[in-house]
């Protein structure tokens, strides 16, 4: 019985441990646990080439999004600009380094690692690098994927920029720059990349 079930015909809900018989799904549909409504699996729509294109685009925007100013403030003739990293530094320098680290990790480090990690995974899969070394690398990258996805908060930073614009427009003139555009693009591309990406499917590559 045990051996019989440990194949692909059955799936366990990771939230409530219910045993569910796996069925083929029409595309765009996801299977939910009948008992607790946790997502069980969906049809993998990972296209390796599509993800590669999204990844390259994201890498292109990564640097300018981080080094170009995301906001510009004009006040009585003087101009201030800030990048995401400077924002994190500004709070750290005031002694709030926990806040600084939280901002840095969720808006800069985790998204960058996430994109690079997906990029490396795609290269390994696309060029069928099957040596033990690359298998080990892929395994390592996949096991950190969930954590990185949870830590990266580009979408929340995007909303924060908008909230800041409205809040500060009370005091001074606010301008969006090239950095804002690059950051917005990075956010959009990463969003599509994460929709396309399917961790389950990536793991199954290792089974072959």
């Amino acid at each position: 019985m045990e051996q019989e079930c440990a194949d692909n015909s059955v799936v366990l809900c990771r939230s409530c441990d219910l045993v569910i018989r796996k069925r083929a799904l029409p595309s765009g549909v996801r299977a939910l646990c009948p008992r607790c409504h946790t997502t069980l699996y969906d049809t993998p729509y990972c296209s390796i080439n599509g993800m590669l294109a999204l990844c390259l685009t994201a890498l292109l925007f990564l640097l300018p999004a981080n080094v170009l100013p995301v906001l510009e403030l004009h006040f009585l003739g003087s101009v201030r600009t800030t990048t995401i990293i400077e924002g994190a530094m500004a709070v750290s320098n005031q002694g709030y380094w926990i806040v600084g680290i939280a901002v840095l990790v969720s808006a800069v480090i985790a998204p960058a690692l996430l994109i690079w990690s997906v990029f490396c995974q795609i290269l390994i899969i696309k060029y069928r690098l099957n040596s033990p070394f690359f298998r080990a690398v892929l395994k390592r990258l996949l096991s950190y994927q969930g954590l990185l996805a949870q830590l990266s908060m580009l979408e929340i930073y995007m909303i924060s920029i908008l909230v800041s614009v409205f809040q500060l427009s009370d005091f001074a003139d606010i301008f969006l720059g090239m950095g804002t555009f690059c950051f917005g693009m990075l956010f959009l591309v990463t969003l599509f990349l994460q929709r396309e990406y399917n961790l389950e499917h990536m793991w199954s590559v290792l089974d072959e």
Binding site: E2, L12, C16, V70, V99, I156, F171, A172
Partner: protein, 213 residues
């Protein structure tokens, strides 16, 4: 396969998904065949870890809300704002939508998270007869919206970097910022470490006795 009914759990078959890669494994294998991670049928210690994190977060929620989170100097006048007074100020200056966004992210979400997680942990620890379905839906919501509390901290970091022109106009974070960051971190961890399957195990026997789910 005929004994596979709609109530059967993986634990009764000796099956468990790998905690790292999700591959369905036979528990007696000890390690996952795909990624090498140790297999666990149930993580009973997760309940204690989750309680500890949640209690710490609840304590920190007080300084996070009572102390000022930002300090603003405007033409020589210094103003300290707590999360709440900051939002009240936004309402007064007719920025209602922004106030609603910040209220949701900084007050409503952390509170809901703490109340929700407490209900969840109490239900598991003391086997309270609360509907498991409802608890689980609440748990998924908590997992999903928890991240949005970071919004306020991002806004503070942007503001602090942009607005610093001495006595004319200056914005700085204040002590509640660290407490608030820790509340977000600890509540996220409390939800993350918890083995949710415990809820379905512990209440199952009681429900079975009643003859329904």
């Amino acid at each position: 396969m005929s004994e596979l009914n709609n109530k059967m759990q993986g634990i009764t078959l000796g099956l468990t998904p790998c905690p790292s890669c999700g591959k369905l494994s036979v528990h007696s294998d000890i390690h996952c065949k795909r990624c090498g991670k140790a297999l666990v049928l149930r993580d009973y210690s997760s309940l204690h870890k989750s309680w500890a994190l949640l209690i710490t977060a609840t304590i920190l929620l007080f300084p996070a809300n009572l102390y000022p989170i930002t300090m603003l100097v405007n033409r020589g006048q210094i103003r300290h704002d707590t999360i709440f007074t900051g939002i009240v100020h936004l309402v007064e200056s007719d920025m209602f939508p922004i106030a609603v966004i910040l209220f949701t992210a900084s007050i409503l979400v952390p509170m809901l998270k703490i109340v929700g997680l407490t209900a969840y942990l109490i239900a598991i620890s003391f086997r309270l007869p609360i509907s498991k379905q409802k608890l689980m839906i609440g748990f998924h919501i908590i997992e999903w919206i928890g991240r949005w509390s970071m919004l306020d901290l991002f806004v503070i970091s942007i503001t602090a970097a942009l607005v610093n022109m001495g006595q004319l106009l200056d914005a700085k974070p204040a002590p509640a910022a660290t407490a608030f960051a820790l509340v977000i971190l600890l509540t996220q961890l409390a939800a993350k470490v918890l083995d949710t399957r415990l809820l379905w195990d512990r209440l199952e026997s009681k429900d079975d006795a009643n003859g329904n789910t």
